[in-house]
């Protein structure tokens, strides 16, 4: 009993260290978001605002159109995440479980998407979108964002399925289930931690994407949050208050999704269903 408690305290100390380093900048964003303009510009930093400047939060919505931007980002990120994960799940399953010619080469082609940096890739992608008339609308993003998420998600599922015992599926087949039923009933539930974390990562990849959104979207009302934020940097004087308010607000949907998803990330492989 004593040995277990010693290990636990060590972990708690580590947790404290992680939390402090991770959260300090975020605490700084929060504190800055509530400071007045002049208080931000002091040589010696203050650790709590002298007066809480809630106006910054109002300003980011009224002056900087943050509301529509949040909705746009949530919509694009959610739809792309769900689509990508669905497609990737099936693709990875095929690669790992099924035998067909070229099954090893195909997923490697997926990763070609990551070879060229987006800072170059955006030009030909924009030319492509131009030719199919999907520029200047947020629909263009639905079309190209999956190129960022599908390769990653597919490969995560490939490694996941490699560790997944075949016996579970075989048992289902013996019971007369179709492959689709098998996938849905036998594979998905124990894979939920991986599925949910992949969904969250795909969401955040879209959530913080900047350059594709920048060139594709021209309508003020269709901006995503990354564009709304960069649009605030207009001169050599940064509006720190509203900008930090934007950062804090951007954290809220993520935290919410994570808290909700937490339920599904607990636990792992079905315990005790397969022996040996």
């Amino acid at each position: 009993m004593m040995r277990i408690r010693k290990v636990s305290i060590g972990w708690y100390i580590l947790l404290l260290a992680f939390v402090v380093v991770t959260l300090f900048p975020i605490y700084w964003m929060l504190v800055t978001s509530l400071k007045s303009f002049q208080e931000v510009y002091t040589v010696v930093p203050t650790f709590w605002p002298k007066k809480l400047e809630w106006g910054n939060y109002l300003q980011i919505f009224s002056k900087y159109d943050y509301g529509p931007a949040l909705l746009n980002s949530i919509e694009v990120s959610a739809v792309v995440a769900v689509l990508s994960v669905t497609v990737s799940l099936f693709s990875a399953y095929s690669v790992v479980r099924l035998r067909f010619p070229g099954r090893k080469a195909m997923p490697q082609i997926f990763l070609l998407s990551y070879l060229i940096p987006q800072t170059i890739l955006f030009i030909p992608i924009y030319i492509f979108l131009s030719n199919i008339h999907l520029t200047n609308v947020i629909g263009g993003l639905f079309f190209i964002y999956p190129t960022m998420t599908i390769p990653y998600a597919t490969w995560v599922f490939i490694t996941h399925f490699q560790n997944f015992p075949v016996e579970l599926e075989e048992a289902a087949f013996v019971d007369g289930a179709t492959r689709l039923q098998t996938i849905i009933r036998v594979i998905v539930p124990p894979s939920l931690p991986t599925i949910v974390s992949t969904l969250i990562f795909s969401f955040t990849i879209c959530w913080s994407e900047y350059i594709y959104a920048l060139v594709v979207i021209s309508n003020k009302g269709q901006r995503t949050i990354t564009l709304a934020l960069s649009n605030m940097l207009v001169a050599d004087i940064i509006p720190w208050g509203p900008l930090m308010a934007g950062a804090v607000i951007a954290a809220v949907p993520i935290m919410a999704i994570y808290m909700v998803a937490s339920k599904y990330i607990v636990g792992g492989l079905t315990l005790g269903s397969v022996k040996g």
């Binding site: 636990s8 510009y41 070609l112 800072t119 599908i150 996941h160 492959r179 931690p193 954290a251 607990v266």
Partner: protein, 293 residues
């Protein structure tokens, strides 16, 4: 038996759909980029085929070599730190800590927040006026006077690596955590019954189970970090005096501000052989071990 072979169609169909989509949307850009790099095109201008002249020119470009040097240093340092810290984070969150779900959400934030605001905040924290990092370090008597985090070449390099690690560790941490949680506890019990101690259990149960995931996450993060742009651009814009330039920032200036599109793309493509090499090596590992399944 007949039902089983028919069943293949849906998943394989989706795979081919995904493949087709990616080839369609990414294939053209890839071909475009390679063909432009073989010409002498300026943005908006007509272009002539010049073969590998752009790449040859880079060989004598001092800024190109220093960008290459720092790109590799940056990636090497950042990946190792993220891997180690990520594993620690995963192992820690795998423990039955009180409020685990809450901490998991919090520790995820650096990755999820918009890069622009995070990087600008770090820039300010490491700056001089209102620079809280120097302030605290001096107050805690860890340093004598303020450090030029962004003005000194060595410290600037440390600063950008630091921000990349701060931002990227959750990617490793949460991915490895998912893998850790997929390990059946029975495997540990069997090992304990066989007389294995904590270290043996780590080496013989944990590592093999998460090896592929760790390898994959490392590969993907490496490729992403190789192309990292925003952190360096917003922190130092490649400075001081170009000492923190990486491929992506240097190619950005050449291509979009100097309008030398072909040269800029040539710079960006120089990284591709490295990425391909990493991919090929990693794939071999991942598939070799899976054939046993």
């Amino acid at each position: 038996m007949g039902q089983r072979t028919n069943d293949k169609r849906l998943p394989i169909g989706i795979l081919i759909f995904a493949l087709g989509y990616l080839v369609l949307v990414q294939g053209y850009p890839f071909v475009w980029a390679v063909s432009v790099s073989l010409r002498n095109q300026y943005i908006g201008g007509a272009a002539k085929f010049v073969g590998l002249a752009n790449f040859a020119q880079l060989l004598s470009d001092q800024l190109f070599w220093s960008s290459m040097y720092f790109t590799f240093l940056y990636v090497f340092a950042a990946i190792i730190l993220k891997l180690v810290l990520g594993y620690l984070m995963a192992a820690m969150l795998n423990q039955p800590i009180v409020g685990r779900g809450f901490f998991r959400a919090i520790l995820f934030l650096p990755w999820a927040l918009p890069t622009l605001t995070s990087v600008l905040t770090w820039r300010w924290m490491l700056g001089d006026v209102g620079g809280v990092v120097n302030y605290l370090l001096v107050q805690m008597h860890l340093i004598k006077g303020p450090i030029g985090w962004l003005g000194d070449p060595t410290y600037a390099k440390i600063s950008v690596i630091l921000v990349n690690v701060w931002r990227g560790t959750p990617f490793f941490g949460i991915s490895i955590l998912a893998a850790l949680q997929s390990i059946s506890p029975e495997l540990y019990e069997v090992a304990k019954i066989d007389g294995a101690n904590a270290w043996d259990r780590f080496v013989h149960v944990t590592v093999p189970s998460i090896f592929n995931v760790v390898l994959l996450v490392t590969l993907i993060s490496t490729i992403w970090t190789l192309g990292d742009f925003a952190i360096i651009w917003l922190m130092t814009r490649g400075g001081p005096a170009g000492t923190t330039h990486v491929f992506s920032t240097y190619s950005y200036i050449v291509a979009f501000q100097n309008l030398q599109l072909s040269k800029g793309i040539a710079i960006a493509l120089s990284i591709v052989p490295v990425s391909i090499l990493l991919m090929v090596i990693t794939m071999r590992y991942i598939f070799r071990r899976s054939d046993a399944v």
